[in-house]
């Protein structure tokens, strides 16, 4: 069964689904069969889809298309794995949630030893040799999804699962429980589950899937001493529309990068930003220690036992087929646009000093900064609405206070994600020549811009576009502008 599915999948992906001319660069085999669009299955009562793409923007767009176009009474399972990406919730702030600078630098080779639990099973992918991986660190995609909740990291060692159902059947735990049943089954039979090790997976009160490890020896390895520890292995997020409910999560299977996630998800501006919207809750995480295909097969099995479709097909969706669908592409354009990623950020205030609204004591600033330097920005939808910068070192000081006002006013209406380099932005905003090196460099650091000595590091908006331009999806969007 599984094999025939795979074969069908292959045919599906390679079948020309749109006129050839659109895909000059891709050579497609001609086939006598009618192309079977995955959309032909949208009316079935229980549908199972697996994406063969690892593009986070495309996978979320396929998912959104399924949410909007699957039959209102149907239940849909969609499984996919993304290349390295940081995915923020619908109403989150990337400047607060993410170390944008680290994100731009890409993913260095995984650290050794692997931060996985217990001895990994023999079948787990082995870490790449360092010399092979370090040449060109792949950029990490920054994605704002449409569902609520907090920020997560994705890579090839995770599996994303997603269930779409009618609103009356919606329950925040129901499908997390489904995944838990799949995990339990796998862990009880898996080669990695050595006797004496007890790993219990369950859904917690935050609707996350966690693993209780009863056999976690403390660091000294004192014989026989058992410590209890709980780790998150999959989160949950939801999107509820008029006619459909979506629940999805990311299950950590065998990610090589868990040791790096903490740094990626810690912004240097954290101590200075007060944001409306949703802040992430940090949880200790760990890998379950399973392969992606065995996880997917087990989840499919549990889904089938819940919704029938015992002999129903799994539909594999490939990049070409998905990109041939106009609605998918429309969603994709929205998700990849900097105005979505950054421009949908809820109102926030950045302030170098305690304010009535945000009285926290501030972290110590770099000592390069002028002693009296202060800055406060109120940013709505990525655009500076109010600015107050003072204490800069002007070369001619006729009247510092009014020079501050002129400079601050010139900052208003600038979009934060389009600022390329704060040094030049401040210089241009100032009515008289100003020494903006130190302050500009510090603000660059705060907002994720790389300060390069000769030139600007480029705006965040460009960084997001650059990170996708080298992918198949990026090239497609370029060609079909």
């Amino acid at each position: 069964m599984a094999l025939s599915c795979h074969l069908r999948a292959l045919t599906l992906c390679l079948t020309p689904t749109i006129p050839r001319s659109h895909f000059n660069s891709i050579s497609l085999p001609s086939t006598p069969h009618q192309p079977r669009y995955y959309t032909q299955n949208l009316t079935r009562p229980a549908q199972i889809y697996r994406s063969t793409s690892t593009d986070p923007y495309l996978n979320l767009s396929i998912e959104h298309h399924l949410l909007q176009r699957s039959h209102p009474d149907s239940t849909v399972l969609f499984l996919y794995t993304n290349r390295p990406s940081v995915v923020i919730g619908r109403n989150q702030n990337p400047w607060l949630e993410v170390n944008l600078h680290a994100l731009r630098q890409g993913l260095p080779p995984p650290p050794r030893p692997l931060p996985t639990p217990s001895p990994p099973s023999q079948n787990l992918p082995q870490p790449k040799p360092i010399e092979q991986a370090s040449r060109n660190d792949p950029p990490i995609a920054l994605v704002r999804r449409r569902s609520g909740g907090g920020t997560v990291f994705h890579d090839a060692g995770n599996a994303n699962w997603s269930v779409i159902c009618p609103p009356p059947a919606f329950d925040r735990d129901k499908h997390a429980e489904m995944v838990v049943r799949a995990l339990r089954r796998l862990l009880s039979t898996s080669a990695s589950a050595s006797p004496g090790k007890k790993k219990k997976v369950r859904v917690n009160e935050r609707h996350d899937i966690v693993m209780d490890d009863d056999d976690h020896l403390d660091e000294e390895g004192v014989g026989g001493r058992v410590t209890k520890s709980t780790f998150k292995v999959s989160g949950s997020a939801y999107k509820l529309t008029r006619s459909r409910s979506l629940h999805h999560g990311t299950c950590l299977l065998a990610s090589e990068n868990l040791g790096r996630v903490g740094r990626l998800l810690r912004s240097p501006a954290e101590g200075y930003i007060k944001a409306r919207g949703v802040e992430s809750v940090r949880s200790p995480i760990r890998n379950v220690g399973l392969r992606g295909d065995e996880f997917a097969d087990a989840v499919v099995r549990e889904f089938r036992s819940m919704y029938g479709n015992a002999d129903g097909r799994e539909v594999f969706v490939g990049e070409e087929e998905a990109l041939a669908n106009e609605e998918v592409v429309k969603g994709l354009r929205e998700l990849t646009s900097p105005d979505w990623v950054f421009g949908q950020t809820p109102l926030f205030t950045f302030s170098t000093h305690p304010t009535e609204d945000d009285p926290r004591e501030r972290p110590e600033m770099a000592h390069k900064l002028p002693e009296k330097f202060q800055a406060q920005f109120t940013v709505r939808h990525g655009e500076i609405q109010a600015a107050s910068v003072s204490g800069l070192e002007y070369h001619y000081a006729v009247d510092d206070a009014s020079q501050d006002v002129i400079l601050s006013n010139a900052m208003v209406e600038q979009r934060l994600h389009h600022i390329k380099d704060w040094r030049s932005t401040l210089r241009q905003a100032s009515p008289v020549p100003v020494d903006a090196e130190g302050v500009g460099e510090w603000l660059n650091h705060m907002f994720g811009i790389q300060t390069l000595s000769h030139n600007s590091g480029g705006a965040m908006a460009e960084a997001v576009i650059k990170a996708i331009s080298d992918t198949a999806v990026g090239r497609f969007l370029d060609r079909h502008h």
Binding site: S147, G148, P167, F170, R172, H207, A237, L240, V278
Partner: protein, 173 residues
């Protein structure tokens, strides 16, 4: 608002309808400052939005029902509709986030958004406290200029009693 009902089991259906009954009468009673208070009619969608139509049938105020607010749990963010936008009944015009869920707010009737409740930007939890209050400081979401089509949409909505029965039924499942 999606029908988030049933599954979340915050309380028993009887408790819901009781709460609903008292709250609705309270909101309607306590409206001395509202200009159009005299003869406005309130109706509900099956997706749990409410809308008040003014006596002259030209303007409306809409929001999320108390029943839905209770089901959704603590609302931590409200994505407000866009002022000046022409909307059709059923269009997603905004969203609320609670317990990791982004739930669409749908326009109950067709018309044009004339004002949004900026209080919700600062205090999204207002919806949990006074979801069906259309006064200043209340949990209303948007004001609309009602189109002719909007009047027809309005006719098709549930009145207070029908909505009460509908939610009681939904809770029983």
């Amino acid at each position: 608002m999606a029908s988030i009902a049933r599954c979340l089991r915050v309380a028993r259906p009887t408790a819901f309808s009781a709460a609903l009954r008292t709250s609705v009468s309270r909101t309607i009673g306590a409206r001395p400052f509202s200009v159009t208070a005299t003869n406005e009619i309130r109706k509900y969608t099956r997706e749990h939005e409410w809308v008040d139509l003014s006596a002259d049938m030209k303007t409306g105020v809409m929001g999320i029902s108390e029943y839905a607010a209770k089901q959704l749990g603590d609302i931590v963010y409200v994505e407000l509709p866009e002022e000046g936008k022409e909307v059709q009944a059923g269009d997603a015009i905004g969203a609320v986030e609670s317990v990791k869920s982004a739930a669409d707010i749908n326009s109950p009737i067709s018309g044009k958004i004339t004002q949004v409740n900026l209080v919700l930007e600062e205090k999204p939890g207002t919806i949990n406290q006074v979801a069906e209050d259309d006064s200043h400081g209340g949990g209303w979401v948007a004001k609309l200029q009602v189109s002719e089509e909007g009047l027809k949409d309005f006719e098709a909505l549930l009145d207070t009693k029908a909505y009460e029965e509908y939610t009681a039924e939904e809770g029983e499942h």
